[in-house]
Symmetry: C2
Subunit: 169 residues, 2 copies
Amino acid sequence: MFEAREGEIALDKDPAAMAPDAGVVFIGRIRSPWTTRADCPRNMAAARAAGRQATIEIAPPYRAGLGGLGGTSHVVVLSWLGRAARNLIIQKPRHAAEPKGVFALRSPARPNPVGLHVAGLVALDAAAGLLTLDAIDVLDGTPVIDLKPYFASIDSFPDAQPPRHGDAP
Amino acid sequence: MFEAREGEIALDKDPAAMAPDAGVVFIGRIRSPWTTRADCPRNMAAARAAGRQATIEIAPPYRAGLGGLGGTSHVVVLSWLGRAARNLIIQKPRHAAEPKGVFALRSPARPNPVGLHVAGLVALDAAAGLLTLDAIDVLDGTPVIDLKPYFASIDSFPDAQPPRHGDAP
């Protein structure tokens, strides 16, 4: 259980302590240049600005699943941010003016700590289970739970409007 | 355990039968017009073409997390597609010419059956835990595990290239 900071509100029942409705398995790990929270970029824009690539290592049983990904320019990475609090339903990020609901934020602290990262795919060695990404905004060693091809036709909305009081990543 | 079809390959160990590395909790449910697999659109483009809206009902404990989402035009919905196989690492979708790795597909059948849907947010009643979406490509009753605001700055890549032998959603 993580303590709420001023302006924050915790759930009565911490999802981390509840009986889960379903289970996830880790299919690989992210290797990133970021080993401390202080170093880790807080979003993908900041990660790109840092100009450091990252790697995903897919575990042996799942490597065959990379077949056919060649030629993809961008992938969706779903990570498991298991070190973050899961009980903070209202949060006040350090950079934000006022507290907000977790579903209006991209904070790693959420009931199910699944991170969503759209990354450029720089190189792919499917046989070795290795993907080189242009950037990533998570700590070294973060587990991966899914990879998906990015399709502009269903995933790209360049004119999308963020929350009215949003903190732009 | 689901049987592989011709050209498909199953994992030796079915993730559905493995000890999970982490657990997810369901935070709500999707109410969609689709009650059978035959009716359900196979991607968000087809769902939009069908011209039917959908609703997400967030469970009471999590409703406060919707505060601050007002004004958002698009949300990322992460669903739990728990009725799909989790062991098919190479798949041959009916519309595809040849088998492909699961990570080159947006198939619901994947080691961790998390669905990713970028939906237009038509209306929001945060107090009642209700979001109206422009469309959705999942069956009625599908659990939701996360909602995130969509930020064009980090999520929109209009020129992204799909897998070379990709099946366009």
